[in-house]
């Protein structure tokens, strides 16, 4: 069961502000999703290894060969927060 505190914690982790009313709303929605997935608990999965990829693919690599990087102007083109070739962010922590 997801509690109101869980929803607040998840909101904090995602840096999303959630109002009192939304907290209750999300709690109910998340619990109904979990309940739905809970049906899977009826299956016996003791000896079944978890599936993380539907394709049985292993070992996808690239060679250690240099490719061209983006020009600095392109990298910074979509931000107004820049200074001396760097991204600028507010003070943290």
């Amino acid at each position: 069961m997801i509690t109101k505190e869980d929803v607040e914690h998840i909101g904090w982790l995602a840096r999303i502000e959630i109002s009192e009313q939304e907290t209750v709303e999300y709690m109910e929605k998340l619990n109904s999703v979990l309940e739905y997935f809970g049906q899977l608990d009826e299956l016996e999965t003791e000896d079944v290894p978890p599936t993380y990829h539907v394709a049985e693919v292993f070992n996808v690599f690239r060679e250690d060969v240099v490719e061209e990087s983006l020009p600095q102007e392109t990298v910074l083109a979509n931000t107004e927060n820049k200074q001396d070739g760097a991204f600028r962010s507010p003070k943290i922590g």
């Binding site: 914690h9 904090w12 982790l13 840096r15 993380y52 990829h53 693919v57 292993f58 070992n59 996808v60 690599f61 690239r62 060679e63 250690d64 060969v65 240099v66 490719e67 061209e68 990087s69 983006l70 020009p71 600095q72 990298v75 910074l76 200074q83 001396d84 070739g85 760097a86 991204f87 600028r88 962010s89 507010p90 003070k91 943290i92 922590g93």
Partner: protein, 495 residues
């Protein structure tokens, strides 16, 4: 002798090492050669974390990780994979770091160090691959920071994080471990420790077998030793005053040499690890035999061989093999016919000592010339030739120069701006050992000219003998052998 560890000190380390010998980053083809470049010039959609960009793993990074694992005598996983570690920080453009979680590529290794009571085994818990975040520069001081500037050139650089067991029992052992670990990585040719930010260390330490405290992000080996010394003293003081050690993370202020508590977050860390769906799992254990064959001779093996092959002391062998390039340089000198024992003394004791004194770090060796850079200012470069060492060892062995003059030659080459051979320097500075009759003459003159000192010496003042020897050295412009001069004076005065 067994070290009792009276204060119950346990130290464990987490070491982040950049695989900076690779040409490209971990998951994209951006060049890893960014250290002297303008910010954000070595980036692409993958390492900038742009939506839709897909990472592809660098094969060489996996090979390097396996090499490291084998050199640490660890186990290489049958199947290994990546996870996402989720947190928000501006140096992490995606909002998560790609790392390994419960399936690290390496586990259960060990490193043997020279401990407080001889050989000491430090267990390696695990070693895993991950990507480096970008670099933050504070605008103004950290305390009064108005904001940060972010450079993503470092973002996505391949890292190996190695976690040790808390097996080290003193800051000295921690430093020895780091020296040995770095040495092994350089032997493997996966790592250049001279590059800025190449190795970063977190240390955890407890006293009286108690609660451990973590010290984050220390950037040098000396820094680790100092941080631990301070932290152990602090913990002992807290306990002496009846206080309790709380489990916490502290950071080391290099300038002041103290550890400071980091502001505790209002919420516990919660990284929500989950498997990285954009990267496929790896089954690479069949690479192991092939990679094992390519492993170079490692420091311990080289040390044993040096002792056997060159007949040198364990101390010299240890010192010469403490850096792969120095070991190669020494072997180059021996291969060109220098007497191995004399060459070991001049290379390990004098040459290395003069380098350390000047804060010079060995940075290259091409089979003939060994190069160094200043540890604090990489712009300052210098070099020394195999042929120079061979010539110097020969001149010394043949008794043509005194040991003082030979040291002088090494210093001249290290401090000089022009390229000169030892012979040229000896000729220019008149450093050839004085002929014996010249020394005898200087001794007679000295005795005649310094009656007072002679009387003092005959009266029992040993100090006066040193003065007289000094006068002889002065007369011969330092070319006399001090020991010979001393003996001659004593013979002259006491018969």
């Amino acid at each position: 002798m067994v070290y009792e560890n009276p204060d119950g000190i346990r130290i464990g380390l987490e070491i982040h090492v950049q695989l900076n010998k690779l040409k490209t980053k971990m998951f994209c083809g951006c060049s890893s050669d960014y250290h002297n470049s303008a910010p954000n010039t070595h980036t692409c959609p993958v390492c900038l974390g742009l939506p839709g960009a897909l990472p592809v793993l660098n094969r060489k990074a996996v090979e390097a990780a396996i090499k490291v694992g084998l050199a640490l005598e660890g186990e290489i996983a049958e199947e290994t994979q990546f996870h996402r570690k989720n947190y928000f920080y501006p140096d992490l453009p995606k909002g998560f770091q790609v790392t390994q979680y419960d399936y690290p590529i390496v586990s259960k290794g060990k490193v043997v160090i020279e401990g407080e009571d001889g050989e000491h085994v430090v267990g390696i818990t695990r070693a895993h691959m991950e990507e480096d975040p970008g670099k933050l520069v504070h605008i103004g001081s950290i305390e009064k920071s108005k904001g940060v500037l972010i450079d993503y050139n470092r973002s996505g650089m391949p890292l190996i994080e190695t976690v040790t067991e808390p097996d080290m029992r003193s800051p000295k052992e921690a430093r020895r471990f780091l020296d040995k670990f770095r040495n092994i990585l350089e032997y493997l040719d996966v790592f250049d420790g001279n590059l800025e930010g190449a190795m970063r260390v977190d240390a955890n330490v407890s006293v009286y077998w108690g609660t451990r405290v973590e010290i984050k992000n220390i950037s040098s080996h000396k820094g680790v030793e100092r941080a631990l010394l301070y932290e152990i003293m602090r913990q002992k003081n807290v306990i002496r005053r009846g206080g309790k050690i709380t489990q916490e993370t502290r950071h080391f202020d290099e300038g002041r040499g103290v550890t400071l508590s980091m502001r505790t977050k209002e919420e516990a860390e919660d990284y929500r690890y989950f498997r990285e769906p954009d990267l496929m799992p790896m089954r690479v254990s069949d690479w192991v035999p092939g990679i094992r064959e390519t492993l170079p001779e490692l420091p311990d093996a080289k040390r044993s061989r040096f002792i056997e092959q060159y007949g040198i002391t364990d101390m010299h062998a240890r010192s010469l093999t403490s850096k792969i390039m120095l070991a190669d340089f020494y072997e180059g000198v021996c291969a060109k016919g220098a007497d191995p024992k004399t060459a070991a003394t001049w290379t390990a004791d004098v040459f290395l000592g003069e380098l350390n004194y000047r804060d010079l770090a060995i940075s290259s060796y091409d089979g003939e010339t060994i190069g160094f850079i200043h540890a604090k200012d990489p712009q300052v470069e210098n070099s020394f030739k195999v042929s120079d060492m061979v010539e110097l060892v020969k001149l010394f062995s043949e008794g043509k120069v005194s040991d003082r003059a030979a040291v002088e030659v090494i210093r001249s080459i290290l401090d000089g701006t022009e390229e000169k051979t030892p012979l040229q320097i000896i000729e220019e500075k008149g450093l050839f050992k004085a002929e014996d009759d010249l020394v005898t003459k200087a001794v007679s003159e000295t005795i005649a000219e310094n009656a007072a000192a002679v009387q003092d010496y005959l009266g029992g003042a040993e100090k006066s003998l040193n003065f007289l020897v000094g006068q002889v050295m002065k007369k011969t412009k330092g070319t006399a052998d001090a020991k010979t001069a001393r003996e001659l004076i004593i013979k002259e005065l006491k018969g």
